[in-house]
């Protein structure tokens, strides 16, 4: 299958081809790949794609998973409306 059509991060449309291009250009830090590609930065917070991207980086660079600088998960666990936070439940 064409690497252009394989999506690693579905929220931000980050493909396998784009990952390989970044790695080939010398950007091998996953933290940097996240920030350049937006992969893991969508509404799912990377819960779907983070490990997938990390595994592929390790695989492509022939490294151990423990050598990959995996980004942290940020809060919140799931998206919340600002109005619910600002006004409490009664305004939700």
């Amino acid at each position: 299958m064409d690497e252009k059509n394989i999506y690693l991060c579905r929220c931000e449309n980050f493909t396998l081809k784009e990952l390989h291009d970044l790695l080939d250009s010398g950007i091998t830090s996953m933290e940097e790949i996240k920030r350049l590609s937006r992969g893991t930065m969508g509404p799912c917070q990377g819960k779907t794609c983070r490990d997938l991207i990390a595994k592929e980086i390790a695989n492509y660079l022939n490294k151990d998973m423990s050598e990959i600088d995996m980004p942290t998960y940020r809060a919140p666990v799931k998206p919340v409306k600002l109005g619910e936070i600002a006004g409490g439940n009664k305004n939700a």
Partner: protein, 380 residues
């Protein structure tokens, strides 16, 4: 990593990468840039991504104006590509006459330097940003040439430009010590070994004090935590960044579609603190829903924290220091990202012994000892 360098730049944020790029462009050879984590990890990649020229001191205005010009061509010049520069404007809002008066005085400074900013009425503000709530608003200030740029892309554009000119970038490599004799630094000790060097640039931002201590200097700069959140992406509906001087906050919709918003609490203890907290979220949500009621139904998807490095007068600290001959400071002090293109250029000119494009001697660290402070009052 190289064992010998002509210049070592400490810090892989937008300023460090800009300094390295500008030095290489100026003809400096054998430059090594050291970054303790990954590029943009310190403050640049955590910032609000705004570009602003409406400042209150001449130097802040001039450096930001020059930087905005460089941002226009940076992506093309470095071969990086689009860096998402949008001159979509800044709308500063005030809610009492004393704030208005303070910003009105700043307008005089801006107009003298050719910055196209205006004081407008709340009604006019609503014409520019239809979703803004004008309840209680006293006045607003607008500059169309302010706006947004992607901090990650800017940093990587500078880094690419630098690397293409032969700069070595060493990531995940902390500086652990600095060796010096009399007035001269001789080498930088890192986790990966020692580098002999002829000159050093401190672009360590919120960590600059730690670097200063290694050569026996006390830099009067403290890290202040600022927190941010971003929402889910929506269709483009906002235009300018909205910065309220009553809420001490900023809110902008970035080209990706999300609304990024944040503020800092100046009363917190000054230290590095990457934790985000619930109280920020609650306060920020209240500030946002008050200023832009339409945001109440928008979901926030991520929050994080970063730091401003705060100088006593809110202006950058640039150039040499009285105690050392081959040590240079390149600190933006709370707005380093948006000033990074000009800071890199000015430091490279200074280190090359040329006349600098702007008179940066007034921003030397010596001003604090001499008491020659010109305080910037417009930092949010």
């Amino acid at each position: 990593m190289r064992k010998k360098a002509d210049v070592v730049v400490i810090g892989g944020g937008s300023i460090g990468c800009s300094v390295a790029y500008n030095l290489a462009k100026k003809g400096f050879k054998n430059i090594v840039l050291l970054e303790r984590k990954y590029l943009s990890s310190g403050s640049t990649g955590r910032c609000g991504a705004g570009i602003r020229q409406m400042w209150g001191t001449e130097m802040n205005c001039l450096i930001s104006r020059g930087s905005a010009e460089i941002f226009k061509t940076l992506g093309e010049e470095t071969g990086f590509g689009d860096v998402e520069f949008r001159q979509s404007g800044y709308l500063l809002t005030t809610y009492d006459p004393s704030q208005t008066e303070r910003l009105r005085k700043n307008l005089a400074v801006q107009h003298k330097l050719g910055i196209n900013s205006h004081m407008i009425t709340p009604k006019e503000a609503k014409e520019i940003v239809p979703y803004v709530n004008t309840e209680g608003m006293d006045a607003a200030f607008f500059c169309q040439e302010d706006g947004h740029i992607n901090p990650f892309k800017v940093t990587f554009a500078f880094a690419k430009g630098a690397q293409d000119l032969g700069v070595e970038i060493s990531r995940y490599n902390s500086v652990t010590d600095i060796k010096y004799k009399d007035r001269k630094i001789t080498s930088i000790v890192t986790e990966e070994g020692e580098i002999l060097t002829d000159a050093v640039v401190n672009a360590a931002g919120a960590w600059c004090k730690e670097i200063g201590k290694m050569i026996g200097l006390s830099h009067p700069v403290e890290p202040e935590r600022h927190q941010i959140l971003i929402t889910e992406p929506l269709e483009d509906m906002m235009g300018p960044l909205v910065m309220s001087f009553a809420h001490d906050s900023y809110i902008q919709q970035v080209p990706h579609g999300g609304f990024i918003m944040g503020y800092g609490n100046p009363d917190e203890p000054k230290k590095i603190n990457f934790n985000h907290d619930w109280s920020f979220l609650e306060q920020m949500a209240k500030k946002a829903v008050f200023q832009l009621p339409v945001l109440k139904d928008v979901r926030f998807v991520r929050q994080w924290a970063g730091h401003y490095e705060i100088s006593p007068d809110g202006q950058p600290i640039l150039g040499s220091v009285p105690e050392m001959d081959n040590y240079f400071m390149a600190l933006g002090c709370g707005k380093g990202f948006m000033l990074s293109p000009m800071i890199g250029k000015l430091i490279a000119e200074k280190m090359a012994g040329e006349a600098t494009s702007l008179p940066i001697d007034s921003l030397s660290i010596e001003r604090f000892a001499k008491g020659e402070l010109i305080v910037e009052t417009g930092v949010v």
